[in-house]
């Protein structure tokens, strides 16, 4: 599995029988976390239908990098599923020492304007390993839908 030619950060959906999985890559752990969040957001709704009107800060903590990624994604998911905040973009503010803080840019969910896609239950730990090939980090995250 190689990242797409010419792109140093990104995500793409991959096939999984029961659920949805996203392959994510980035030139740093920060980019990897950002792209994974965008991958998740794009499963839930069309980020292009969202206006970046306000900012919401989200953070997570965990002992190991893989656990931190899952915890972070579940916080991003909660912003939508629990607080009904639709995101257009994501930026990592700080990452390290078992803690991540990021900013979601978007607006309150509006059923009439935002194009929803899937109801994602959670990000899973299943088969989750962050790999580094050359200077590119890569991971595959399985989501339960």
């Amino acid at each position: 599995m190689r990242p797409a030619e010419g792109s140093r950060a990104g995500f793409e959906p991959v096939a999984h029988t029961a659920d949805l999985a996203v392959r994510v890559w980035g030139a740093s752990m920060e980019e990897l976390f950002e792209q994974a969040a965008m991958g998740l957001i794009s499963l839930m709704l069309d980020p292009k239908s969202v206006q970046p009107a306000s900012v919401r800060t989200v953070s997570a903590q965990a002992q190991e990098p893989e656990e931190l990624l899952v915890a972070w994604l579940n916080e991003v998911l909660f912003a939508f599923e629990g607080e009904h905040f639709a995101s257009a973009s994501v930026r990592i503010k700080s990452l390290g020492g078992g803690k991540v803080t990021g900013e979601l840019c978007g607006e309150d969910f509006d059923r009439t304007r935002h194009r929803v896609r899937h109801s994602v239950k959670a990000a899973t730990y299943h088969d989750l390993t962050v790999k580094k090939t050359g200077d590119i980090y890569e991971v595959r995250v399985v989501f339960d839908v």
């Binding site: 029988t17 965990a62 899937h118 109801s119």
Partner: protein
């Protein structure tokens, strides 16, 4: 004889075993015919069932039902029992994110002819009454914190107390619709926030509300006890604990990662994270899981009452004059303490069923009184184009699979390939040509859930029938569906 993967051997006409090797604590037992086994072998389900066999305190075998398929951590269609005295564990991933996802079946006294002529009107009324789709909410007034805590403890009884359904529905619900041991203090604020607006909503994905016709009866005695006969209309509700359960599983999977380190438990996949049944972490998860199970029962009980209103608005009269009576409500994502025979001993085990259904025999104290002579009803939803099945539990299930059987058809196609295959087609129109009127919230969901994305449920229930685990009672075919 051809060599099978994982050294699998045939141990019965419909039973396969992966012998215990290496760090496995028990063997793997798979129920399947040769054709289903091929599809099972094609994905990762067998390896996942082997991984479950590594877990501490597992008793006798890691079981996979014929509808088993690749999940995450535990396979879907997996059954595993753990003994607390042998270091047994509880694993949130062995129950799933949708805690107490389950099925409710309601019989009506209406004949197919009466309903078919007004099916569009009925499906539209159901669609109006029962919110569905991504983020569906506000079927009823959002409960206060205090009410939510009551839902956690009371389950379906909360709904009945608030005017949704009747007390006799509870007698025909697994665990009487109330799981004991629930502690709302074990639930996070996040779970309450996600769950608050969603009581009485169907959600999305593979969840549905269906109007069925009893097309064929295989077991007259059991059918009669269940109030089912050929040509009658029935209603099926498939959903779970919504965001409340999803968040609860998420919260405790994180706790369990720390528990793995604390109790030095090694697992081949972090999604199998667990804690000893006797540990504070294990007990707290079970108390939270019971809250989510109760939320799901309150949810299905409320949806049933909303569906009843739709029937009353279309056909007139009331629930009694329409002959609407709950047949049963089962969960297929749950862990429960149950007494089972292990060798010559009676043991209390924590039975995990992830995409598997309880199937208790005649005479069991938990089989509802009106069904005690025939056994517990088992509800197996199929895809929305073909059929669903009503089965009944047996002594053999009790003796061999901890009183468990399959839970549905099981996916055959990924969601992506289903959407690809549906391009340029109208699934709604195709279903209509097959006599099924469908209303849906999202076009993509309908494509992902199209009939051919699933295995044929008939093959799945036939394996369990032939193996003597559950007997077929009736086949139901859909005529109207609402989907998220």
């Amino acid at each position: 004889m051809e060599q099978r993967a994982y050294g699998m051997i045939r141990v019965g006409p419909f039973e396969w075993e992966v012998p215990q090797t290496g760090q496995m604590n028990v063997p793997v037992r798979i129920y399947a015919d040769e054709r289903l086994l091929e599809t099972i072998e094609r994905d990762n389900a067998v390896q996942q069932a082997i991984n479950v066999a590594y877990l501490p305190g597992i008793v006798r075998a890691s079981y996979a039902m014929p509808d088993t398929h690749w999940g995450y951590g535990f396979p879907i269609g997996g059954v595993a029992a753990f003994d607390a005295e042998k270091g047994g564990i509880v694993s949130p991933g062995g129950i799933g994110f949708d805690i107490n996802c389950g099925v409710r079946l309601i019989r009506t006294g209406l004949a197919e002819k009466q309903v078919r002529s007004r099916i569009q009107e009925l499906v539209n009324a159901l669609f109006e009454q029962v919110p569905c789709g991504v983020g569906s909410s506000k079927a009823i007034a959002s409960p206060s914190d205090q009410e939510l805590r009551r839902i956690c403890v009371e389950g379906a009884a909360w709904a009945v107390r608030n005017g949704f359904g009747r007390a006799d529905d509870l007698e025909r619900t697994e665990a009487l619709g109330t799981m004991p041991g629930a502690d709302p203090d074990a639930i996070t604020k996040k779970a309450f926030m996600r769950g608050r607006p969603q009581v009485g909503t169907l959600g999305s994905g593979n969840h549905f509300l269906e109007v069925d016709v009893v097309r064929e009866v295989f077991d007259e005695q059991a059918a009669e006890a269940f109030g089912i006969s050929k040509g009658l209309v029935a209603v099926q509700i498939h959903c779970g604990s919504r965001g409340f359960g999803h968040q609860t599983c998420t919260d405790y999977l994180q706790t369990m990662q720390d528990a793995l380190r604390k109790y030095r438990i090694e697992v081949p996949d972090k999604q199998l994270a667990c804690a000893p049944l006797e540990s504070p972490e294990g007990k707290r998860y079970l108390a939270a899981m019971a809250c989510a199970a109760n939320y799901a029962w309150a949810n299905r009980q409320t949806i049933f009452a909303l569906a009843t209103r739709a029937f009353e608005s279309v056909f007139g009269g009331d629930r009694d004059s329409l002959g609407m009576q709950q047949v049963y409500d089962v969960c297929h994502n749950i862990a429960k303490f149950e007494e089972h025979a292990v060798g010559d001993e009676r043991r209390i085990l924590c039975v995990h069923r992830k995409g598997a259904t309880r199937a208790f025999p005649p005479g069991h104290p938990e089989t509802p009184a009106p069904y005690r002579a025939v056994g517990q009803p088992v509800l197996i939803p199929g895809d929305m184009g073909r059929a669903s099945y009503l089965l009944v539990g047996t002594q053999k299930a009790m003796a061999t699979t901890w009183g468990s059987t399959c839970h549905g058809a099981g996916r055959l196609m990924s969601r992506h390939s289903a959407i690809r295959q549906a391009k340029g087609r109208s699934i709604k129109k195709e279903l209509q040509e097959r006599g099924v009127f469908v209303r849906y919230e999202a076009h993509e969901t309908l494509a992902e859930e199209m009939p051919e994305a699933y295995k044929d449920v008939e093959a799945v229930v036939s394996v369990m029938h032939e193996a003597g685990i559950t007997r077929k009672v009736a086949r139901l075919e859909p005529i109207g569906v609402i989907k998220g």
